[in-house]
């Protein structure tokens, strides 16, 4: 086996040195030793394995081959070649969590820069070194709010990504907090009147996503004043961070904690993971923030150095009283985001956000003129929006994917009963004019 260097001879001499007669002596005290072999395929040679994996991969559609208008929390953005080359440097990807700072300065400085990027993009004070994904990060943000306010009521807007809402509820299973969901209004925005009527002094936080699951830019400023007037925290959630290249980020609306998904920042869709949970907050909540945090300090010689810090919050020190159980995070994905944002830079992040907005607007306008297709909501959107079709939305998606190689959007009736014939359409810089024409033509034919 090429991954196991020691030969039979090596092993025999080592066993002798250990002072045993045979390998079997090593395991003789263990109960219920297996008598039969594991029933597994293989071993496969490298070439046979590649063939098998290639065959499995070919059974999947993917956004490089199909014209994809899928988003809803996972976006198809351009990924520069340098990202896989740099994250593929094995000094980065074969290292562990940087417990030994002297030989982990590379990971540590990169994560420190990642934290700086996240604070800059969100206009917030402090960032941790990453969480698992947007959904679990949102859940941890809610737990943070419960810890700091010691109140027990949680309000979540129904325009928050349904996967995130499900994960938040799962995370609260062991907690006595109560969750209230507030509906959206005719414009597809969080119903602020409902927010105002439900919120009270016992509310720990309200969770608002912007751009929301329908792609709509929420009125965070109105929400913020209602939430803070009641002494609750504003937990702002996002799934499309590219939006903040152009749009005001949560920090500029006085959000207390911001949590969301960093997949757009240089990571492929990957059939759902690994992604990047982003968690940033005001500095006053730092000590109740979960996860690793990298800090700048000096070494004994006074040289600049980086180290995992504030570990008194963490599970290996505080055990059951820790802020979270998180240990392994998404370090390499955070590195990818840092490389991506370095490449985009100050101009690039604006430019790409603008292209997304422009192409999405163009598509939205085109689609709205098709008979049998209408825009569900009129509010301003960023790079995705909801349409309602005459034709059943699941059939629409099936027909366009099988016959025209178009991934036409997400049928959102599964998440919202009252939006049964609605599709969430996402347009990014990757969609060409021709793809957009094909989508329009496809929808025109189906709704004739």
């Amino acid at each position: 086996m090429r991954y196991i260097p020691n030969t039979k001879d090596n092993i025999e001499s080592m066993i002798k040195e250990i002072g045993l007669k045979s390998e079997a002596d090593m395991f003789k005290n263990i109960p219920l030793l297996l008598e039969e072999k594991l029933n597994l395929p293989g071993p496969l040679s490298e070439s046979a394995l590649i063939k098998r994996m290639k065959n499995m991969s070919d059974l999947n559609a993917h956004v490089q081959e199909y014209a994809s208008f899928l988003g809803g929390g996972t976006y198809h953005h351009f990924i520069p070649s340098i990202i896989s080359h740099l994250t593929g440097r094995s000094e980065f990807y074969t290292a562990y969590t940087p417990y030994q700072p002297e030989i982990s300065q590379g990971t540590l400085q990169a994560i420190f820069e990642y934290q700086t990027f996240m604070c800059g993009l969100m206009a917030m004070d402090v960032s941790n070194a990453s969480m698992y994904d947007g959904a679990s990060s949102a859940a941890e943000a809610v737990l943070m709010a419960l810890r700091t306010t010691k109140k027990l009521k949680i309000i979540i807007s129904e325009t928050v990504n349904p996967e995130y809402r499900r994960v938040i509820k799962t995370y609260l299973t062991g907690h006595s907090a109560e969750v209230f969901e507030i509906p959206f209004d005719k414009q597809g925005k969080t119903d602020v009147n409902k927010l105002e009527s439900i919120i009270d002094k016992n509310t720990a936080c309200a969770v608002i996503q912007t751009p929301n699951f329908f792609g709509i830019i929420e009125d965070l400023s109105t929400c913020e004043s209602i939430i803070h007037k009641n002494g609750a925290l504003l937990v702002a959630v996002f799934s499309e961070p590219i939006a903040y290249g152009l749009l005001k980020p949560p920090g500029l609306f006085n959000a207390d904690i911001t949590a969301g998904e960093g997949q757009s920042l240089g990571l492929p869709p990957g059939f759902g993971g690994p992604y990047l949970g982003v968690l940033v907050s005001k500095s006053k909540f730092l000590r109740s923030m979960p996860g690793r945090i990298v800090g700048e300090t000096t070494d004994k010689n006074g040289e600049r150095a980086f180290v995992l810090t504030l570990s008194a919050r963490e599970q290996h020190i505080r055990r059951e009283k820790s802020t979270s159980n998180i240990c392994t995070n998404e370090g390499l994905c955070a590195l990818a985001a840092a490389i991506y944002l370095s490449s985009l830079g100050k101009q690039g992040i604006r430019k790409i956000a603008r292209i997304n907005y422009d192409k999405s607007e163009y598509t939205r306008n085109k689609l709205s003129t098709i008979p049998g297709v209408k825009l569900k909501f009129s509010s301003p959107t960023f790079n995705e929006f909801v349409i309602e079709t005459k034709k059943n939305s699941i059939e629409t998606v099936t027909e366009l994917s099988l016959n025209k190689k178009i991934l036409a959007g997400i049928p959102i009736g599964r998440f919202y009963k009252n939006l049964s014939n609605c599709l969430l359409i996402t347009v990014t810089e990757m969609n060409t004019k021709e793809e957009i024409e094909n989508l329009c033509n496809g929808l025109r034919e189906l709704n004739e």
Binding site: P5, L38, G42, H62, S104, V126, L247, K346
Partner: protein, 493 residues
């Protein structure tokens, strides 16, 4: 042997934010057709728009590549050398797995694309679940959790859901002092109370101790096997009987599964539920802190509570089933860290039954070899045949005023990553060594020689150890100031 490592050409690298100059760009974005241009679209209201982010850099592609390449050279990875972090299983990460995970049908498949167009991915998930069931001797597996601790959380929530379903309000979970550090935190996140269980003088849990703590308020015992001392819990089947008789579950933290593949099955030992770390046992890289993957394997009794969706097969077609009314819900978006699962799947097929068994056996032999060769130099609190890792302490070096940290840091000068230190807490001043099966006898001998030299230096030149590392990019860091006056992001002067 000499302390002969030497790190890096570049001692200093400015922050990326301090590099470049105005007008530089590092990316080539897709061309924009003029039909899309802004003037054709209604302008966004100005109160929604932000100003440019002044702190973002303006750097060329070359500068980005050099910056991160230089940073990478300050790191130490498995590809650099021996990385004997106990309980972390830092084995070789096969390059083949990285390649196959990049195939477009995996890397660029969208989680919302239609099921008929995702059959390859669903097949892989379905089959990996069955491989992991076979290896652990369990009935079902979910791949949804993103890491070991996330698996613990999902697993304990399933136990919670089971008892809630049975209207049995159990509140306690027994956790041995030799279990993993994340366990108590996971348990308390689920609203359970962690009850510590003391291990005996041999470093394992006594059945009588469990019997004395076990009552009908206990939902489960959560133990690690082999435990964090690297010792197999020999009483496990009796403990399982005791716990089962009072209606509780046996949860096994499977982070140390690398000792057991093809040797013994967790399910046969009376374990009802266990999480597995694909980034440990199944060779996927740790990525400098993640991503990982923490599947949970269960016996059928818990299958109603699995997170949704579950993947099923009917007439050669695979599909998602969300219709699980008793499910705990979801701990993560979608179906888990899928690309990590692709790598673990490739690993299992590459190894096959024979390779996995050889891996576990060799991991155990390698650990025992180091233990035997070093026991005259360093104190071993439990001197027994160990599994894939073992624990020693700095007790023999106390008279020279040298401690665990000094020993660990001096190893860096010899070109090795230090072991896990100060863990498990049940042993004072622990150093926990896990070599894994992917190290050759020569590497182990070099490590052993370095450790013997360090024992000698501790006696004759303790200052060397006190000041170690001497050859790394930096010396020891000021952690106190870092925590007292946190600087957590770059700021323009």
């Amino acid at each position: 042997m000499n302390a002969n490592s030497r790190q890096v050409l570049w001692k200093k690298e400015p922050y990326i934010f301090e590099q470049g100059s105005s007008g530089r760009e590092g990316i080539s974005l897709p061309e924009e057709d003029e039909d899309f241009s802004t003037q054709n679209n209604p302008p966004l209201p100005s109160h929604l728009l932000r100003e440019p982010i002044n702190d973002f850099p303006e750097v060329s592609e070359v500068e980005v590549v050099r910056h991160f390449t230089r940073l990478s050279q300050w790191n130490y990875g498995v590809d650099t050398g021996l990385y004997p972090l106990g309980s972390c299983t830092m084995k070789y990460n096969p390059k083949l797995n990285e390649e196959v995970a990049k195939l477009s049908g995996f890397s660029f498949a969208h989680p919302h694309q239609p099921e008929p167009l995702s059959q390859g991915a669903l097949h892989l998930i379905y089959e990996l679940e069955s491989f992991l069931s076979e290896i652990t001797g369990m009935d079902r597996v979910t791949l949804q959790p993103a890491a070991g601790a996330h698996g613990e959380f999902a697993g304990m929530l399933m136990i919670k859901a089971y008892f809630a379903d049975k209207k049995d309000a159990r509140i306690k979970v027994l956790i041995p002092d030799t279990a993993h550090g994340t366990n108590p935190a996971s348990v308390s996140m689920c609203g359970f109370k962690a009850v510590p269980v003391k291990s005996n003088k041999d470093g394992i849990v006594d059945k009588d101790t469990v019997a004395s703590l076990m009552d009908e308020d206990v939902a489960a015992i959560m133990l690690t096997n082999p435990n964090t001392l690297g010792i197999f819990e020999l009483n496990i089947t009796d403990i399982a009987d005791i716990v089962h008789k009072k209606g509780g579950f046996v949860y096994c933290d499977g982070a140390n599964l690398n000792a057991l593949m093809g040797i013994v099955k967790l399910g046969d030992l009376g374990i009802d539920i266990a999480h597995i770390n694909l980034h440990k046992t199944f060779s996927t890289p740790h990525g400098g802190g993640g991503p990982g993957s923490g599947p949970v394997a269960i016996k059928n009794i818990l299958s109603d509570y699995l997170p949704v969706p579950i993947i099923e097969k009917r007439e050669k077609r695979y599909f998602f089933n969300y219709d699980q009314p008793k499910s705990i819900g979801k701990v993560k978006s979608f179906y888990g860290n899928f690309l990590v699962c692709v790598k673990a799947y490739a690993y299992i097929l590459t190894m096959g039954n024979s390779g996995l068994r050889e891996a576990s056996k060799t991991a155990v032999i390698n650990a025992n070899y180091i233990r035997t060769k070093l026991k005259n130099y360093y104190h071993i609190p439990h001197d027994v045949i160990c599994m894939h890792e073992y624990v020693f302490t700095d007790k023999n070096q106390h008279e020279y005023n040298v401690n665990t940290l000094d020993i660990a840091k001096r190893l860096i000068d010899y070109g090795f990553h230090p072991p896990t230190i100060y863990f498990p807490l049940v042993v004072k001043q622990a150093l926990m060594v896990e070599p894994t099966e992917t190290e050759s006898k020569e590497t182990l001998d070099n490590f052993i020689n370095a450790m013997i030299c360090i024992a000698d230096e501790a006696k004759n030149n303790p200052d060397l150890l006190k000041n170690a590392p001497l050859n790394a990019k930096i010396t020891r860091v000021d952690e106190v100031t870092a925590a007292r006056n946190p600087i957590l992001k770059w700021k323009r002067d």
